[in-house]
């Protein structure tokens, strides 16, 4: 099956969901298992058409729990796999996200956030799942979560999500929102040779010597797949380097959980990405992500036009949280403004790292994101 077939390089007018789907295909994703849910359904619909064109697999599972399980199964069979959902489905997937963490399965989970809790507002945006992305499953673990603010980023960050998943053998969340998912913008798709793609490390030893959960120096074990002759075992139970359950050993549990976390924590400098706009001399820092960052950028520009030294710190990586960047700006700035489309989630992380620097939180959700003027007001007030 030829997989080099048309990535559609060039300029396109797409909506965010479709851009995300195209990003997945461009990254080499060849398995999608999902369940229809507004506002992520378009990703599934688009991939049901595109996957077979590449010889890839689209399967609609009976629920989101099954979707996440199938994604892990396909990843262990050697395919880059993903699913896409929204709040209610994301909640259902949490147990198996924990399984993906424990079995170090590379995979991508897209959450196009909508109003919650529960069934909430299926067709309207929010940023109410960002804490859930970090803490949704039980137990101690770390994940990587990215936040696109444009349709272009729905494409590029999906590719980035796959690369990070393959590199660190973790589930990576792409936290979009209903607006970024449904709006239509211009997207530039590079040709295949201009895209940087990362694939998982494969074992270099013979099957007899292979230990499926023995890490390399970067704390990530090479990953064999089913059918390659390695005869390995993987389990969600606490396990040793053989992959065999070893639930009664405190030492095994301590080492394993710490390694799963350190895989990410020790590599934060390589993982975390932020976008800094006009921050060099900023006295008021706006910390915004996703669709809100678009309004925030406009607000910061307007503030500058009024002579206020404002700047925008936009986390592209929500988790691990860019604490160093926030702490650094906190020393310089006189105030932080954090607009979020929720009751206050990432703002608590910001407050943890800004220490004495005052933080103004702007909560708005239910239909529209904050307008630039609303954020500008807050910038003016916070000086």
């Amino acid at each position: 099956m030829n997989t080099k077939r048309g990535l559609l390089p060039g300029a396109h007018f797409l909506n965010g969901d479709i851009a995300c789907a195209e990003g997945a295909v461009a990254a080499g994703c060849r398995f999608f298992a999902g369940y229809p849910i507004t506002p992520a359904t378009e990703i599934a619909e688009h991939l049901s058409e595109r996957m077979p064109e590449f010889g890839g697999i689209y399967v609609q599972m009976e629920d989101e729990i099954a979707s996440m399980a199938a994604v892990i199964g396909a990843s262990y069979s050697g395919l880059k796999s993903m699913t896409a959902t929204s709040g209610p489905g994301f909640s259902l997937m949490q147990e198996n996200i924990g399984l993906a963490v424990m079995t170090e399965t590379p995979c991508v989970i897209v959450d196009i956030m909508r109003g919650g809790p529960s069934t909430g507002q299926p067709t309207l945006p929010s940023q109410q799942d960002v804490m859930q992305a970090r803490w949704g499953s039980h137990g101690d673990y770390e994940i990587i979560a990215l936040s696109p603010c444009s349709v272009q980023e729905m494409f590029t960050l999906t590719v980035e999500a796959f690369n990070l998943a393959e590199m660190y053998r973790v589930p990576v969340m792409l936290m979009g929102d209903e607006i970024v998912g449904h709006m239509w913008e211009k997207v530039l798709i590079p040709s295949a040779d201009r895209l940087s793609i990362v694939n998982r490390k494969k074992p270099k030893v013979s099957p007899e010597e292979y230990l499926p959960f023995k890490p390399d120096a970067d704390l990530v074990p090479p990953m064999a797949c089913f059918g390659e002759g390695y005869h390995f075992h993987a389990t969600g139970l606490t396990h040793n380097e053989h992959g065999y359950p070893q639930t009664q050993s405190a030492e095994t549990q301590f080492k394993l959980v710490h390694r799963l976390c350190d895989k990410i924590l020790k590599n934060v400098d390589k993982i975390i990405k932020v976008e800094e706009t006009m921050l060099d001399d900023a006295e008021v820092v706006v910390f915004a992500y996703g669709i809100v960052a678009r309004s925030a950028l406009s607000a910061v520009r307007k503030a500058r036009a009024e002579g206020i030294k404002a700047g925008l710190l936009r986390p592209i990586t929500l988790w691990p949280f860019p604490e160093k960047q926030v702490a650094k700006m906190a020393k310089q700035a006189k105030a932080f403004v954090v607009p979020e489309m929720n009751c206050g989630q990432l703002v608590h992380e910001v407050e943890r790292w800004t220490k004495e620097t005052p933080v103004t939180f702007l909560s708005k959700f239910g239909e529209e994101p904050h307008t630039p003027l609303e954020i500008l007001e807050a910038i003016r007030r916070s000086r």
Partner: protein
Amino acid sequence: MDKEILEHPLSKYLRTDMMPNIWCPGCGNGIVLNCFVHALDELKADLNKLVVISGIGCIGRTAGYTNTDSFHTTHGRSIAFATGVKLANPELDIVIVSGDGDLFAIGGNHFIHAARRNIGLKVICVNNFNYGMTGGQLGPTTPLDAVTTTSPYGNSEHPFNLVHLAAASGAIYVARWTTLHVRRLTQSIKKMMQKEGFCFIEVISPCPEVFGRRNKLKSGMDMMEMFKKVAVVESFSDPARADITPDKIVVGEFVDIEKMSYEKLFHEKIAQINERAMEKVS
């Protein structure tokens, strides 16, 4: 690890460094594992293509004991996981070994859809009538009036008839045996491994420590003696009437048909679409 296990002719199919298994004396799980590896041996199965997937439960430890690629999933999700594996690599032979609660309570939804799709998964359900691993709670196959830790006054729920459920959902091979019917179980496993599509074997198994003890079947031997007395082979009888009562356990093969598997259908279609797409580009 006792090296003596290596003397056993079937030890090459086992992860001998994990032996002895965690199962209680008299537990039927070991018998199912035994029949399974006997079947693999008789088939001269290619162990590089075999993936054993199990759920949570005592029987779920089986995946850790077979010397093949294996995966121990979250509770109830082995079938959904296996669907992803099979679709991603249809060349793999996938055997799911799990329990009555894992497959039919929490996992019930996944079971019926996989059977409906006729995806080539081979499911062995070891039915011990309760949730053994967690101490003996009632499950979807617990007989009426049975005593379990969560039905101390006797179970008031009607149990599933698993072979009826599997047949009605679309499985192309359905059989039920007990752990006493070791030869026939081995033959059934061999048969199902050679079929294309969704296959299901229910194995009635003793759980002496937590189920039997509370229900007048104190040892594994008591239950096996019961199987000897009340099990009746009625192959190809109506699965809807394949009852399990204290006086009669109907065993046998109930369904054995041919139907194209989901993964075959699916991949043929993908190949066609892929080809058409290639033509457009070139």
